[in-house]
C-alpha cells in the first residue's frame, strides 16, 4: 500500500477512483456540514464518510457516476464558508476551483440558512464558473417552517436552483438533470459601491493572463488582500500597478475592504432572501432544541457527558472488551483455532523452529492473528460503532463548546475535541485529523498529547480488562493519565511559540444517526484499521521469531529489563515493553498474558500499565506523525515520550510504595 492511498483511506473515503478520462466533470462545494458528501455518495454510488461535525472531509474525493448513460466525474471538496479562505480546508477546496477544469460547479447549501449560504453563492457566481445552487436539508428547513420560492430565487440569481433532501435521496433526479443540461453562467452582476466598483474595473483591465475564474472575481480577491491570489498573479501580471489601485482604494475607508465588501454583499443578499422566502413560521422550542440546550449548559451538560462516558464504558469496556473478547479469545481461539492450527502445523512441518513461526508462544496465528482478531477487533469495532453514533448526532461540537475553557489551558481550543476523542479510538486516525486545527502550535500540541496521553481503544480495552474488578487501580490510572495530559499540555503551551488559539465553531442541529450510515462508517473504519494493523501484528510475530533464533530478542529483552526493574517490575514485563514499541496495545496485550499467568499484580501491574499507556501508540501513528509534522518533530517526540513514560512509571511506583498503598 503506498502512502498516498493510505492517507486517503485513513480519512475514510471509501474510494480512491480517479475520474474516467473524457467524462464531464462536476465539482461539489459548500459550507461544512451541509451534506456534500451525501450528495457525492448519491451521485457516484460510493460511500464517503458522513458525519454531523463541520470539517469532516479534509481531503478531496473523486468518484464516477452515470447520468443518462454518460460518465460524470464528481469531485467532493472540503467545506468552505467563503471564497476568501481562512482555513486549510478552505484553501484546498478553492485550489480545486482554481486549478481544475469543470463543466459544472454545484454549490450544496443549507436551505435553512439562506442569508448565510448565499455569500458563497454570490462569490461563486462572480467567478463566472457554471453554477448550480443545490438547496439541501430541505427537511430541516421544512421543520422550521421555512418555505422558499425556488422560481423566484432562480430568477433573482439567474442560475438553476435545485431543492433536495440528499439523505432520503429526494430531488436527486432534478439535480442530475441540472447537471446534464450544463448550466450557463449567470448574467447577473451584483454591484458594490462607487469606490469599490471603479477599482474592480481598473484591476480587471490590468489582468492580462487567462485564469479559470473571472477577472472580476480575481480583482475582488486582490482588493481583499488574498495572499494566494497575490502569489498567483505575481509573476504574470503588472502587480505593481494592481497593488497601487488596491492601496488607493484602501485609503478611502477606515475598515478593511473585505469587511466592507462582505457587508455590501449582505445587503444584496437580504434583498434576495426577503423576496424569495415565502413564509417563516414563528419558531417554537422543540425537543431537539431542548435537548441541545441540556447538552450545552454546564449544569446539565456535565452530568450528560458523564452519562455518555458511562454508556461508552458499558458498551466498549464491558461488552466489547470483556464479553466479546472473552468469547473470541477463550472459546473461538482457545478451544478451536489454536489447538486445530497447532495440530495441523505440527503435522505438516516437522521442524520445531519453523513451527514456532506459525504457532506456539509468539506464532503468527497464535499470537499475531489472535491478538488482532480476538482482542483488538471487538474493542475497536464497538468503539467505532459508539463513536459513529455520537458523531452523527452532533454531540461533539457541543462537547467542544463545553470543554473549550479547559483546552485553552493546554494551548488548544474546543475544536481539538474531535482529534482527542477520536484518539480514544485510533491515535493514527486522530493524528491525521489534527490537520483541521488552525495553528501550527495547536497541531504540535495535539499530536504530542495524542502520542503520549491518549490511549487508543485497542489499548484501552486491554487496560480495562487488566484493571477489571479493581476500581481503585482504574481511578489511579485515569488520574495519572489526566494529570500527564494536562501537565504536559500546559508546559507545551508555554514552551511552543505561537498565538493562543481562538475558538469559534458552528453548532450543527442534533440529528438522528442513520443506522446504515453508522454501520457503513464503522465498517470502513474497522476495515482501514485492519489493513493497517494486521500486517504489523504478523510482522511483529516474524520479527520476534527471527529475534529468537538469532538471540537478538533476548538481548533486547535483557536491555529493557533494566528500566523495567528500575520501575519495580518483574523481568518478564520487558517482553511486553518490547512489544509496546511496535504497538502499545500489543504491549498491553502482552501484560494481559503476564497477568493471566499470575506474574503481574498490584502496584507493579498498575505501574506497567501506566508506563506502556504513555508509550507512542504504534508504528503507523509514528509514520503519520512524520508525514504531518516532519522527521525532526516526530523523532523529537519519540525521544521525549519513551524516557518520560518510564519516568512517570518510576514516580508512580515511588509514590505508591512510599505511601504503602496495596492494590
Amino acid at each position: 500500500m503506498n502512502t498516498r492511498t493510505k492517507r486517503k483511506e485513513a480519512s475514510c473515503h471509501g474510494t480512491t477512483d480517479e475520474i474516467i478520462a473524457g467524462s464531464k466533470r462536476v465539482i461539489l462545494v459548500g459550507n461544512p456540514n451541509v451534506g456534500k458528501s451525501v450528495v457525492f455518495g448519491n451521485l457516484t454510488g460510493n460511500y464517503v464518510t458522513v458525519s454531523n461535525y463541520p470539517g469532516t472531509t479534509v481531503e478531496v474525493t473523486r468518484g464516477n457516476g452515470r447520468i443518462e448513460e454518460k460518465n460524470i466525474g464528481i469531485i467532493d471538496t472540503p467545506g468552505m464558508y467563503s471564497f476568501l479562505p481562512i482555513t486549510e480546508e478552505e484553501s484546498v477546496a478553492r485550489a480545486i476551483l482554481l486549478n481544475e477544469d469543470s463543466d459544472a460547479v454545484i454549490h450544496v447549501a443549507d436551505a435553512k440558512s439562506l442569508e448565510r449560504t448565499l455569500h458563497l453563492t454570490l462569490q461563486l457566481m462572480e467567478t463566472g464558473l457554471p453554477l448550480i445552487l443545490n438547496l439541501n436539508l430541505m427537511d430541516e428547513a421544512d421543520r422550521l417552517g421555512i418555505k422558499i420560492d425556488l422560481e423566484k430565487l432562480q430568477s433573482k440569481l439567474g442560475i438553476p436552483v435545485v431543492a433536495t433532501i440528499a439523505t432520503e435521496n429526494k430531488g436527486m433526479d432534478n439535480l442530475r438533470r441540472a447537471i446534464i443540461n450544463i448550466p450557463k453562467k449567470s448574467d447577473k452582476i451584483f454591484r458594490y459601491d462607487a469606490t469599490i466598483e471603479p477599482a474592480i474595473t481598473k484591476i480587471t483591465r490590468l489582468i492580462r493572463g487567462n485564469y479559470r475564474i473571472s477577472n472580476r472575481a480575481l480583482a475582488l480577491l486582490l482588493l481583499q488582500d488574498d495572499p494566494e491570489i497575490n502569489d498567483l498573479l505575481e509573476k504574470e501580471e503588472n502587480k505593481a500597478a494592481i497593488d497601487k489601485i488596491v492601496e488607493e482604494t484602501k485609503k478611502f475607508f477606515s475598515e478593511p475592504l473585505n469587511y466592507l465588501i462582505t457587508i455590501q454583499r449582505q445587503k444584496i443578499i437580504n434583498e434576495i432572501v426577503k423576496e424569495s422566502t415565502i413564509a417563516v413560521r414563528p419558531e417554537r422550542v422543540g425537543f431537539r432544541e431542548r435537548l441541545s440546550r441540556i447538552m450545552m449548559s454546564p449544569i446539565t451538560g456535565l452530568p450528560f457527558l458523564l452519562l455518555v462516558m458511562y454508556g461508552l464504558y458499558e458498551f466498549v469496556g464491558v461488552f466489547g472488551a470483556q464479553v466479546a473478547v472473552d468469547y473470541l479469545e477463550k472459546t473461538i481461539f482457545g478451544n478451536y483455532i489454536n489447538p486445530y492450527v497447532t495440530k495441523i502445523v505440527t503435522m505438516i512441518i516437522p521442524w520445531k523452529i519453523l513451527q514456532d513461526l506459525f504457532v506456539n508462544d509468539y506464532g503468527i496465528i497464535t499470537l499475531g492473528v489472535r491478538y488482532a482478531i480476538a482482542i483488538i477487533m471487538p474493542i475497536v469495532a464497538t468503539f467505532f460503532i459508539a463513536f459513529s453514533i455520537i458523531e452523527d448526532t452532533g454531540y461533539l461540537p457541543r462537547l467542544a463548546m463545553l470543554i473549550d475553557r479547559v483546552f485553552k489551558k493546554i494551548g488548544l481550543n474546543g475544536r481539538a475535541v474531535i482529534p482527542v476523542v477520536l484518539g480514544f479510538g485510533c491515535d493514527t486516525m486522530a493524528t491525521m485529523v489534527t490537520r483541521t486545527l488552525e495553528t501550527r502550535k495547536e497541531k504540535v500540541i495535539a499530536t504530542l498529547l495524542l502520542a503520549l496521553a491518549i490511549p487508543c481503544s485497542a489499548q484501552l480495552g486491554v487496560i480495562l480488562v487488566l484493571l477489571s474488578g479493581n476500581i481503585d487501580m482504574l481511578w489511579i490510572f485515569a488520574g495519572v493519565m489526566a494529570l500527564v495530559f494536562m501537565l504536559v499540555g500546559f508546559l507545551a503551551s508555554k514552551i511552543i511559540p505561537g498565538e493562543s488559539p481562538l475558538f469559534y465553531m458552528e453548532v450543527p442541529p442534533l440529528r438522528w444517526p442513520k443506522l446504515s450510515n453508522v454501520f457503513t462508517k464503522t465498517y470502513t473504519r474497522v476495515e482501514w484499521y485492519f489493513k493497517e494493523v494486521l500486517p504489523l501484528f504478523i510482522l511483529a510475530s516474524v520479527f520476534i521469531w527471527i529475534g529468537k533464533i538469532t538471540k537478538l530478542f533476548d538481548l533486547a529483552v535483557d536491555l529493557l529489563s533494566y528500566p523495567t526493574s528500575w520501575i519495580g517490575l518483574p523481568k518478564e514485563a520487558a517482553t511486553a515493553f518490547l512489544f509496546g514499541f511496535f504497538r502499545r496495545d500489543f504491549g498491553a496485550a502482552g501484560l494481559y498474558d503476564l497477568k493471566n499467568e499470575g506474574l503481574l499484580t498490584g502496584v507493579p501491574l498498575l505501574v506497567s500499565i501506566v508506563t506502556i499507556a504513555l508509550f507512542m501508540p504504534c508504528i503507523a501513528q509514528f509514520s503519520i506523525t512524520i508525514k504531518e509534522r516532519g522527521w525532526k518533530m516526530a523523532l523529537g517526540m519519540a525521544a521525549f515520550i519513551f524516557p518520560f513514560a518510564f519516568l512517570v512509571g518510576f514516580l508512580v511506583n515511588l509514590v505508591l510504595t512510599t505511601l504503602g498503598v496495596t492494590l
Binding site: Y81, S82, L84, I86, D110, K112, S113, E115, R116, H119, A141, L144, I146, D225, P256, N258, Y259, T262, I263, Q266, K267, N270, S292, R293, M296, S297, P298, P397, A400, M401, L402, I403, D404, R405, K408, N413, G414, L502, F503, Y504, M505, E506, V507, P508, P509
Partner: protein, 218 residues
C-alpha cells in the same frame, strides 16, 4: 464662534479646580499661563473669566461653557475606552485632541450611543447634557459588547471591533455581520449565538469583538 483649543483647556482646568478642588480663584503660577497670553484675552473678551492679581476666576457664562468642555472631554474618554477599546495610556492624549472636534450635535449623539454615562473612565462625573435630561428613562447604552447582553436577549450587530483581520474574517464567515440579529443562547462556559437558524459557539474574546444594539423584542 469657536474657542481656541488652548482656551478650552484653560476653561476645563478652571472648572476642575472649581468643582473638584473647591478652589474658586486659581493663581497664575498654578495655571502656568501668561497674563497677556492670547487665550486669556480671548476668554476675557467673551466675559468667561475675570482676572485679578491673585489669579483668575470663572464667571457665570464661563462656568457653563467650561462644563460643556469637560463633558466633551469625558465623553471622548468613554468613547475611547468603551467603543474603541484603546489602551489606557493612549486614552488621555487622544481624548484631549478629540474633545475639541466634538460639536454639540455630535457630542449628544455620542452621549446617546454610550448610553448617557454618568462617569468618565477615571470615575469622575460627566456633566449631563440636554440629551441626558431628555432621555432620562433610557438607561442602557445603545451600542454594547455582545458579552454584556443577558442570556436569552437579542441584539442587532452594529459593527465588529477587531484588531486582526483574520478574526474579522472568521466572524464574517460564521454569518455574524452588521445588521444581522443575534440571540445570546448561552454565556458560559462559552458563548453561543443564534444567528438566523444557525448556532455559533465562540470564546469570550471572539464574542467581545461583536458590538450590538439591543433589540426591543429581546
Amino acid at each position: 464662534m469657536r474657542l481656541s483649543d488652548n482656551a478650552e483647556e484653560i476653561l476645563e482646568y478652571l472648572w476642575r479646580m472649581n468643582n473638584e478642588m473647591d478652589k474658586e480663584v486659581v493663581n497664575w503660577e498654578e495655571l502656568k499661563e501668561d497674563k497677556d497670553a492670547p487665550e486669556i484675552k480671548e476668554l476675557l473678551d467673551l466675559k468667561y473669566i475675570s482676572v485679578s492679581d491673585d489669579g483668575i476666576r470663572l464667571r457665570d457664562d464661563g462656568l457653563k461653557e467650561a462644563e460643556k468642555t469637560v463633558r466633551r472631554h469625558r465623553l471622548a474618554e468613554r468613547l475611547m475606552v468603551d467603543v474603541f477599546d484603546l489602551k489606557e495610556s493612549l486614552v488621555e492624549d487622544t481624548a484631549c485632541r478629540f474633545e475639541h472636534l466634538l460639536r454639540r450635535e455630535v457630542q449628544d449623539s455620542i452621549c446617546t450611543l454610550l448610553g448617557h454615562p454618568n462617569y468618565c473612565p477615571h470615575h469622575k462625573p460627566i456633566p449631563p447634557g440636554r440629551c441626558c435630561r431628555k432621555a432620562e428613562r433610557v438607561v442602557k447604552p445603545i451600542v454594547i459588547r455582545s458579552t454584556e447582553l443577558e442570556k436569552g436577549s437579542k441584539g442587532i450587530v452594529a459593527f465588529l471591533h477587531i484588531q486582526n483581520s483574520n478574526k474579522l474574517q472568521k466572524l464574517m464567515a460564521m454569518g455574524i455581520l452588521p445588521g444581522i440579529q443575534i440571540e445570546i443562547v448561552q454565556k458560559f462556559p462559552s458563548y453561543v449565538f443564534k444567528v438566523g437558524q444557525t448556532y455559533i459557539a465562540l470564546d469570550k474574546e471572539m464574542a467581545r469583538a461583536v458590538l450590538v444594539r439591543k433589540s426591543d423584542d429581546g
